[in-house]
Symmetry: C2
Subunit: 204 residues, 2 copies
DNA sequence: GATGTAGGCGTACGCCGTACACCAACCAGC
DNA sequence: GCTGGTTGGTGTACGGCGTACGCCTACATC
């Protein structure tokens, strides 16, 4: 016989994501999300235990935008893994500011877990199991998370690259040269190139 | 003819790092660092423009603990890169809580830049240059940063693994099995295994 | 000893997350 | 259609945060 709820956890997640997209991760606050929803700050706490849980909802929402259909079973397994990893990157890249949150909340996101399960299925089908499979998943996950953050936070391509490219070549000959070259590669090619390295190492 | 300073930026960095090691990254605050130094909060602002710059000092101090001598030139280049990457990981692992800061402040840390320069020198000597070199550095950097954070924040090995290992095998057969296997691999072997994948991919 | 420069500090403001107590909206039972 | 119990929404308040601002004073110089 209680009073019915006027919001949903989904709406909270959407509002929080809107705030983040608009004002950056630093702009995320309980007050800002409440204002976005036209509710009082404390109302949020009827849906979520604390700020951290709200962040978890955001991550799950972002990852939830990934395609979930299994990749073409006729394709070679490397290609299937690439498809899956690309989906993850695309999903996070659509909301770059949430990247840091994915690190801390990934293992509590159902969508993220489902993604990992799919990757493991492909790896297993490729004959990779036991310790090799552990290392493979960890390597892929580490690379994806690290590369995405690099791309949007302290990048070798992006605004940061300009700073590095302007370093004195006398002190940093290779680094300044590489930074200049990096500007002509583009983030997508860089990301996929690194992934290709991993997959090739996994194949050998 | 001014009054002499009673602190150094180095002392600030040391105090901040002590706070972080003791209370975690969340415990870092200007007030806490000031108390650690027996000074007033506002005194810190005579040495540092804002909190972000203080964080930068901490990162540089952590990375500054790395060995800087060039790795044995007689060793194969893969081994030399491994040595360099290991040094980075060891330095950050000594203060796990600062891992998230390294992402955002890496490209402003002189020590970090010097490290990248050394890695690039080895890669170049190995005949890797142009776009391949860009991709290689980016891949290594992404992997290192991602893997370190995974290890200490949302790990596939560590406390988080237990949660994943307890997932219902009916819904997550591969994931729960892999998490159980991961407990017997150990973080060091996982990290080096992933790195070996990258290096093998780079060799082919 | 006087003087000017700059370092250290106290105070205050506007943010933050959230504990707590209150009120009112709603549904079930009559 | 009324009433009662339950629970959702809210206002207030507290302790902490980063830091702008202005004061005072310790010092090196003359």
């Amino acid at each position: 016989m209680p009073r019915p709820r006027s919001l949903t956890r989904n709406q909270l997640a959407a509002a929080a994501l809107a705030v983040i997209d608009r004002e950056g991760l630093a702009g995320l606050s309980m007050r800002a999300v409440a204002k976005e929803l036209g509710a009082s700050t404390m109302a949020l706490y009827r849906y979520v235990q604390d700020r951290e849980e709200l962040e978890g909802l955001v991550v799950d929402r972002v990852l939830g935008a990934m395609d979930t259909e299994p990749p073409d079973p006729a394709a070679p397994w490397q290609e299937r893994v690439e498809v899956l990893v690309r989906r993850m990157r695309d999903a996070v890249s659509a909301h770059p500011s949430v990247a840091p949150l994915t690190v801390t909340h990934r293992h509590r996101s159902p969508v993220g877990l489902r993604w990992a399960e799919t990757v493991l299925a492909v790896l297993t089908e490729a004959g990779i199991d036991g310790e090799r499979r552990v290392v493979a998943l960890r390597g892929l996950l580490g690379y994806v998370i690290g590369a995405i953050q690099l791309e949007h936070l302290g990048p070798l391509s992006g605004r940061g690259t300009d700073v590095i490219a302007e370093l004195p070549p006398s002190a940093f000959p290779y680094l300044s040269a590489t930074a200049r070259q990096a500007r002509e590669v583009g983030p997508e090619a860089e990301f996929l190139g690194g992934l290709a390295l991993l997959l090739r190492g996994l194949t050998a």
